[in-house]
């Protein structure tokens, strides 16, 4: 039996790594990948609690999160591709035309 605290701690660690990835990296694709890491950390917390409370609601919600994440990745990557065609770069600090 896996203690719940271990699972939540793991979820928190992966989430923190995702946050660091979003803040530290310049490449838009790697930032996107870190966002996926954060989503998966949240999924892990859902499944951990579903296991703890013997309810399936957590697992169903993870199913929906996965679907929405898939849709979000598709659109996000399309936007990044379009941006690359316009600006020739994927580094987020070089895309500053709207800067005041």
């Amino acid at each position: 039996m896996i203690p719940l605290s271990w699972l939540i701690a793991l979820s928190a660690v992966v989430f923190a790594i995702g946050v660091v990835g979003v803040l530290v990296r310049r490449n838009a694709l790697v930032i996107f990948m870190s966002i996926e890491l954060m989503l998966n950390a949240a999924n892990l917390a859902f499944v951990a609690f579903a296991n703890q409370m013997k309810s399936l609601d957590g697992q169903v919600f993870v199913f929906f999160v996965m679907t929405v994440a898939a849709a979000e990745v598709a659109i996000g990557l399309a936007i990044i591709v379009h941006l690359f065609r316009l600006r020739e770069t994927v580094f987020v600090d070089e895309i500053h035309l709207l800067k005041g």
């Binding site: 896996i2 923190a16 790594i17 790697v30 890491l37 679907t67 849709a71 580094f91």
Partner: protein, 180 residues
């Protein structure tokens, strides 16, 4: 036994997530993320969510990451170059925020120390995890399920319109505006 397997998968997950964030080559980051998803699927299997574990591999590792790899190869991205004082300062701030978050999480967890129950009865053994999820998904969560299908359709249409490119978008601008 279960705890040992969990510790193994958890260590793999943490190490590969760190490598995703730290490695300079985007393709290698993507591959480490695939490995992270697979170890997460292993953890789901340990938590008796076998349907979710398999769907994680099919959807995340098998489709979303392939999409990432396609885009990285299409854009022909090389190693990230991250030099310069400004970027180093930003990096320092980023790591500081991350460590701060981790310490906050650890402090909160120490307060509310939640252990699992002493003895375990396995709910999914009689009727199977997939059947149970199906029963719940099509009764209580039918409305979100249908809305999700519309969401996916909208996403598909959006991707096709966005990724189509400038020249054809300009030429078909009137037609798309009238028809869409």
């Amino acid at each position: 036994m279960l705890a040992a397997l969990f510790v193994g998968f958890a260590a793999l997950l943490v190490v590969t997530s760190l490598m995703v964030v730290l490695h300079k080559n985007p393709v290698t980051s993507a591959l480490f993320l695939v490995l992270a998803f697979c170890s997460l699927a292993g953890i789901y299997l340990l938590l008796r969510a076998e349907f979710l574990g398999m769907v994680q591999i099919v959807v995340y590792a098998g489709a979303i990451m392939v999409l990432f790899l396609f885009v990285i190869m299409y854009l022909n991205l090389q190693h990230d170059v991250e030099t310069g004082l400004q970027i180093a300062v930003r990096r320092g701030i980023g790591w500081f925020v991350g460590v701060l978050m981790l310490l906050t999480g650890a402090a909160l967890l120490k307060r509310g120390w939640a252990l699992g129950p002493a003895n375990e009865v396995l709910p999914g053994a009689e009727q199977g995890n997939v059947a149970a999820i199906g029963r719940v998904l099509y009764s209580r969560y039918l409305f979100p399920f249908e809305i999700t299908s519309i969401l996916l359709l909208v996403a598909m249409i959006g991707v096709i319109v966005i990724a189509r490119g400038r020249s054809r978008a300009h030429a078909a601008g009137g037609g798309a505006g009238g028809g869409a």
